[in-house]
C-alpha cells in the first residue's frame, strides 16, 4: 500500500497530508511532483490544499492542465482512489472528475475555523469507517468553497447518493446554520458516480491529533487505508 501526495508549486498543505498519513497513521507515502506523469505506482492519490499555481485565475483552473493531472485522470478512470482536499477538490471540479464548480464564499472573505460536517454516505472508500450521520469537527480554510451546480446535476448527486458530507451544527440539526460559505445544499464534499474519486473543502489532515483540537479527520484516512487493504486482499 502506498499513498501519493501531489505537489503543485503552490501546494501548502502537502506536508500536512504527508504527515497525517506517514507519521500519524504510519503508512507509506510519497510526494509526486506536478510535472511528473509517473504516479510511482501509488495506490491512492491525495490532491492537497494550497494555491496550486497561485490561483490568480480561477482556483484550480491551471492545475487541471498540469502533466500530473493527465495521469491522475487515467488513474481515476481505472478505478484508482483519489481524494481532493480544499484546493484539491477545486482542481477535481475543474478537471471534470467531479461535477459542479466553486464560487467565492458568501461574504467574500477567506474563512479559517472549525466547522461541523455530517457523514451522509458510508458506502465509499473514504467514509466506510464512519457511521451514517456521524458529525465530524474539522477545520476549513478557504476563499472559494461555495459549491454550486445546475439543478439537474444536484438532483443526480442526491439520487446517486454522491453527497458525502454536509455542513451542519454541532448537534447535526440545522444544516443551513452550520454552512460557512453559502454552499448549495450545504454540501461540503461529494464523490463521483464510481465512488472512487472524492473531494471536500474541510481539511481532515488538520484534525488528526488531540493536540490540534480534533482527531475527527482520521476516520477518512483510516477508511482509505482499510479500503486499500481490502482491495489488496481481494486481488491476492
Amino acid at each position: 500500500m502506498k499513498f501519493g501526495v501531489v505537489v503543485f508549486p503552490g501546494s501548502n498543505c502537502d506536508h500536512d497530508a504527508f504527515y497525517a498519513l506517514g507519521h500519524v497513521l504510519q503508512k507509506p507515502v510519497e510526494f509526486i511532483w506536478h510535472q511528473s506523469e509517473d504516479l510511482h505506482s501509488c495506490d491512492a492519490i491525495i490532491l492537497p490544499g494550497g494555491f496550486a499555481y497561485g490561483d490568480y485565475l480561477r482556483t484550480g483552473a491551471i492545475a487541471r492542465f498540469s502533466p500530473v493531472m493527465k495521469s491522475v485522470e487515467k488513474f481515476a478512470a481505472g478505478g484508482g482512489m483519489v481524494l481532493g482536499i480544499c484546493n484539491g477538490f477545486q482542481i477535481l471540479l475543474e478537471a471534470g472528475l467531479l461535477p459542479g464548480a466553486m464560487m467565492r464564499n458568501v461574504g467574500l472573505r477567506y474563512i479559517c475555523r472549525h466547522v461541523n460536517i455530517r457523514v451522509e454516505q458510508t458506502d465509499t472508500p473514504f467514509t466506510h469507517g464512519a457511521t451514517g450521520g456521524q458529525i465530524l469537527r474539522i477545520p476549513i480554510a478557504h476563499n472559494d468553497g461555495n459549491y454550486t451546480c445546475d439543478e439537474v446535476t444536484l438532483a443526480e448527486l442526491e439520487k446517486n447518493r454522491q453527497v458525502l458530507f454536509r455542513y451542519t451544527t454541532p448537534e447535526g440539526k440545522n444544516d443551513a446554520a452550520g454552512n460557512p460559505n453559502g454552499s448549495m445544499g450545504n454540501i461540503a464534499g461529494i464523490c463521483n458516480r464510481g465512488r472512487n474519486v472524492a473531494g471536500l473543502m474541510p481539511h481532515p489532515e488538520r484534525a488528526v491529533e488531540s493536540a490540534l483540537d480534533s482527531e475527527d479527520g482520521l476516520v477518512i484516512f483510516r477508511s482509505m487505508v482499510e479500503a486499500l487493504i481490502g482491495a489488496a486482499k481481494a486481488s491476492a
Binding site: G10, G54, Y110, I111, P139, E205, A211, L212
Partner: protein, 766 residues
C-alpha cells in the same frame, strides 16, 4: 569614473529632492572624491535614508542589550537567531510597513508580511509562524472622530486585514496571533508591524556576507519593475502631507505565490551546498543587497544591470537599482557550481541569472551593457552613512490636576452596563472576525492560535518542544510616559509568553515614533530605549533585532510613541501548553500578584486609572500615568507561571492587561466554552479600580481544588502573593462581588454576545 552616461546633471537641488542634506552631500563627495552622477545619488539617497541607515536612532540603539547565552545572531543580519536546543535555532524579527499601509492598505500590508518572511528564509530558516500587530484610528464615531473619518479607518482596517491574510494564506505560513488596537492618533498613520518566526538546523544557517573573489552573483525571483522606487526613502523616511495619496506608485505590489516558490527554491538551493551568501531585496532593492553583502564580507562586487530580468523595457540604471519590486533575492554561489543553483530555480519556474561577480578591492561597480554607471566604495556606502545625535527636549509637563482624573463610582454602583460597554470596545472585543480571515493552522503545528492562549504557541514536529510568541505595545501609556510605556510593553509580552507556559528567552522590537527632527520625539525615543533596555535585562530577554520606524506623523501630528515588542519563549514540553479558558465546574480561581498588592493613595489610584482602557472607553479620559512598573515582580510572576506549567498544576492561565481583572475573567469564561464564574473580591478601595485597573505582574489561574495548596506553596516560594477569588461554574452566570455586593452580574452568553460581536458591530457588519 571613465564613462558616466547619464543625462541628468546632479545639482544641490536634485540632491535635496532626494532627501540628501548639504552636509550629507559633502560626505558623498568626500567618499567618491568627485560629484556623484544621478544613479549614484539615487543609491546614496536610499542607503542613507532613515529607513535603511538608522541615522537618527543608531546612537540610542547601542544602549539595548543584545547578548545572551542563547543568542546566536543579534541585530545586524536579516533576522535575529536564538538557540532553541537539540541543534535547532529560531530566526525571528518584527518590522513595520506603516506608511505603505496607509497609502494602499492591501498592498502595503501584504508586502509587509512578504518582506519579513524573506528576512527569515534568507537566513536558511523555514517560516513557521507570523504575527501581526495592527493599530488603527477609531472605527466608530466619537468626539474626536467624525463618522467620515471612522468610515475611512474601517476601510483601512479592511484592506490591511485582507492584505495580511492574502500573503500568509497563499504562502502557507500560519498567522497565529498579534494585536489589534484602536486609538485616534493612528487615524492618518496606521501601524502594521509584522513578525515572522522560522526554524533551521544550526549548521544550516545562512548569512549575507559575500565571499570568494570570482564567485558569481546570481539574481533570482521576480522580475524587476518600476514599482516601489523610493519606497524606503520617500515613503518610509518622511512624514505625510495632504499629497501623500499621490505616493501610491511608490508602494510595492506583492505576489505571495512567487514568494512561496522563492522559499522552496532557496531552501533547496541552499541544500546543494553551492550557495555562499544570500540576501533578500527588500527596502532599497538591488542597491541594498549588493553593497551590504560586499560590505559585510569585506569584498567588492560588480554587476551588470543589462542582465537583470526586467518586467518592462527601457528602465534606466537609476530605476533598476532603486526598484523595490518584491520577491527577489541576490545570492553568491561557488564558482563553477552556478548551474546547480540555477537548475533549482528553473525547476521552480523562477527567473535566475548570473548578473555579476565578487571582486577584490571593496568597490561596488554597477555596469549597464558593460558601461560603468556607478562606482562606490561598498563599506562607506553601507556602514559609514551619516549618524545624528539629534537634539532632544523633554516636553513641558502636562498641566493636570485631580479634576482631570477619573472619578470612581460610589460604593455599591452596579457596573454591569459599563462592563458590557468595555467588552464591546473594539480594542477589547473579540478579534475573531479578523483572525478567521487568516489561515491559523496550515502546517499543523498550531497548539494555540489567536485568543486560545496569551501567546501563540507552535510546536516543533522535530522535537518535544514548542515555541511561544507574543507581541505587545501600549501607545497610550507611551504618550503619558515613554519609558514606563516601553517597559510595560516588554513586561506584558513576556508575561503573555509565560502564561502559555513557555520561558521567555529573547525579544525583537519595532519602534514606531514621530519625526526624529522634533526634539520632543527624540526625547520620547531615547526614554523608550532606556525603558526597553532596563526591562529586557531584568526579564532576561535580549533584543535580537527589529526595526525603527520614524516619521509616523501626518500634517505635523505625531502618533503616540509606540514600541511594539515581540517576545519568543521556549516550552520544554509541548503537551504542557497553558490556555486561557476555564475548564471544570468547581475549579478554584486564583489571582497571582508578583507585587503582592498595591498601597497607593486614592488620588494616585485615580491618576493611574485615568490611563486605563476603561477610563478611555467609559469616561473619555486619557490622562495621568501608567501604573508603576516593578520588574522584579514581573520576573517572579514569570518564574511562577513557568514552574506551575511544568508541574502541570494549572487548568488555565491568563494575564491581566487591558481591561484588568474583570476582562481577564470574562475572557477565560468565553474561551472555556462559556463557563461561568463566581468571584468574591476583598475590598479596600473603589470597585472600578479593583475590577478594571491595569497594574502589571498579575495573572488569573484556575486550579483543581486538590491542587490549590501546592500552587499556593509554589507561588509563595517565588515571592508571589496568591488570593483565592472564586470558583468556575457552569450556570451561565458571571458574578463579581465586591465589599459584599454584586457589582457585575450577568449571563455569560449575554456578555459573550457583546464581546464576541463588538468588532463586527463597530465595523457596521451586523
Amino acid at each position: 569614473m571613465a564613462t558616466a552616461q547619464t543625462e541628468i546633471r546632479v545639482t544641490p537641488e536634485i540632491a535635496a529632492e532626494h532627501g540628501i542634506t548639504s552636509e550629507e552631500y559633502g560626505r558623498i563627495q568626500k567618499i567618491l572624491k568627485r560629484d556623484p552622477n544621478i544613479t549614484e545619488l539615487g543609491i546614496f539617497s536610499v542607503m542613507w535614508s532613515e529607513h535603511c541607515s538608522y541615522k537618527s536612532s543608531k546612537v540610542h540603539l547601542k544602549r539595548l542589550p543584545t547578548k545572551g547565552k542563547l543568542v546566536v545572531q543579534g541585530p545586524g543580519e536579516n533576522a535575529g537567531v536564538v538557540d532553541i536546543g537539540d541543534g535547532w535555532v529560531a530566526a525571528f524579527k518584527i518590522e513595520s510597513h506603516n506608511h505603505p499601509s496607509y497609502v494602499e492598505p492591501f498592498q502595503g500590508a501584504t508586502t509587509g508580511v512578504g518582506g519579513i518572511l524573506r528576512d527569515i528564509f534568507t537566513m536558511g530558516a523555514r517560516p513557521i509562524a507570523v504575527l501581526d500587530s495592527l493599530r488603527f484610528g477609531e472605527i466608530t464615531a466619537t468626539k474626536q472622530t467624525s463618522e467620515e473619518e471612522a468610515a475611512k479607518n474601517r476601510r483601512i482596517l479592511d484592506g490591511v486585514v485582507r492584505g495580511v491574510a492574502n500573503y500568509g494564506n497563499c504562502f502557507g505560513v500560519p498567522t497565529v496571533g498579534g494585536e489589534v488596537v484602536f486609538e485616534p492618533c493612528y487615524a492618518q498613520n496606521p501601524l502594521v508591524n509584522a513578525l515572522a518566526l522560522g526554524i533551521a538546523r544550526k549548521e544550516d544557517l545562512f548569512f549575507a556576507k559575500a565571499k570568494g573573489t570570482g564567485n558569481p552573483v546570481i539574481y533570482v525571483g521576480a522580475k524587476t519593475g518600476r514599482d516601489g522606487i523610493h519606497g524606503a526613502s520617500l515613503l518610509a523616511s518622511a512624514e505625510f502631507t495632504e499629497e501623500s495619496q499621490q505616493k501610491r506608485p511608490n508602494v510595492q505590489v506583492g505576489d505571495p505565490f512567487t514568494e512561496k516558490l522563492l522559499l522552496e527554491a532557496c531552501i533547496e538551493a541552499m541544500k546543494t551546498g553551492a550557495v555562499v551568501a544570500i540576501q533578500d531585496m527588500g527596502a532599497a532593492g538591488l542597491t541594498c543587497s549588493t553593497c551590504e553583502m560586499a560590505s559585510r564580507g569585506g569584498t567588492g562586487i560588480e554587476i551588470d544591470l543589462a542582465k537583470v530580468p526586467q518586467r518592462e523595457t527601457g528602465m534606466s540604471p537609476y530605476e533598476i537599482m532603486l526598484s523595490e519590486s518584491q520577491e527577489r533575492m541576490l545570492l553568491v554561489a561557488e564558482k563553477g557550481r552556478e548551474d546547480e543553483v540555477l537548475g533549482v530555480f528553473r525547476k521552480w519556474g523562477l527567473d535566475s541569472m548570473v548578473v555579476g561577480e565578487v571582486k577584490d578591492g571593496g568597490l561596488m561597480v554597477v555596469k549597464h551593457h558593460g558601461v560603468v554607471v556607478a562606482e562606490i566604495p561598498a563599506h562607506p556606502l553601507a556602514e559609514e552613512g551619516p549618524v545624528y545625535n539629534r537634539p532632544m527636549a523633554e516636553p513641558a509637563p502636562r498641566k493636570e490636576s485631580a479634576n482631570d482624573w477619573y472619578k470612581f463610582a460610589p460604593d455599591g454602583t452596579d457596573l454591569t452596563e459599563n462592563f458590557k460597554k468595555l467588552l464591546s470596545a473594539p480594542t477589547i472585543a473579540s478579534k475573531r472576525w479578523i483572525t478567521e480571515q487568516y489561515d491559523t493552522m496550515v502546517r499543523t503545528n498550531t497548539l494555540a492560535g489567536p485568543g486560545a492562549s496569551d501567546a501563540a504557541v507552535v510546536r516543533l514536529k522535530e522535537s518535544k518542544r514548542a515555541l511561544a510568541l507574543a507581541t505587545d505595545g501600549n501607545g497610550r501609556w507611551g504618550s503619558l510616559n515613554p519609558k514606563a510605556g516601553a517597559m510595560h510593553a516588554v513586561a506584558e509580552a513576556a508575561r503573555n509568553v509565560a502564561a502559555s507556559g513557555a520561558r521567555p528567552i529573547a525579544a525583537t522590537n519595532c519602534l514606531n515614533f514621530g519625526s526624529p527632527e522634533k526634539p520632543e520625539v527624540m526625547w520620547q525615543f531615547s526614554q523608550a530605549i532606556d525603558g526597553l533596555g532596563e526591562a529586557c535585562v531584568a526579564l532576561g530577554t535580549p533584543i535580537t533585532g527589529g526595526n525603527v520606524s520614524f516619521y509616523n506623523e501626518t500634517l505635523g501630528k505625531s502618533i503616540y510613541p509606540t514600541p511594539t515588542i515581540g517576545i519568543l519563549g521556549i516550552l520544554e514540553d509541548a503537551t504542557k501548553v497553558l490556555k486561557i479558558g476555564f475548564r471544570d465546574e468547581g475549579d478554584v480561581i486564583l489571582l497571582l500578584d508578583g507585587a503582592g498588592g498595591e498601597n497607593l493613595s486614592s488620588a494616585n489610584r485615580a491618576k493611574e486609572f485615568s490611563s486605563s482602557e476603561y477610563a478611555k472607553d467609559i469616561a473619555d479620559i486619557v490622562a495621568g500615568q501608567p501604573p508603576a512598573i516593578e520588574l522584579a515582580a514581573e520576573k517572579w510572576l514569570i518564574d511562577v507561571l513557568v514552574t506551575l506549567a511544568e508541574q502541570g498544576s494549572l487548568q488555565s492561565a491568563h494575564d491581566l492587561s487591558d481591561g484588568g481583572l474583570a476582562v481577564a475573567i470574562a475572557e477565560s469564561c468565553f474561551a472555556g466554552n462559556n463557563a461561568g464564574a463566581s468571584i468574591v473580591l476583598p475590598g479596600s478601595d473603589s470597585a472600578e479600580y479593583a475590577l478594571f485597573g491595569e497594574r502589571g505582574a498579575r495573572a488569573v489561574v484556575s486550579v483543581k481544588p486538590e491542587k490549590v495548596s501546592g500552587v499556593v506553596a509554589t507561588a509563595k516560594k517565588h515571592g508571589v502573593a496568591v488570593q483565592e477569588i472564586g470558583k468556575v461554574t457552569r450556570d451561565n452566570q458571571l458574578r463579581i462581588e465586591y465589599k459584599g455586593r454584586a457589582v457585575v452580574s450577568a449571563p455569560v452568553n449575554a456578555l459573550q454576545d457583546v464581546w464576541g460581536h463588538g468588532l463586527e458591530r463597530a465595523l457596521k457588519l451586523q
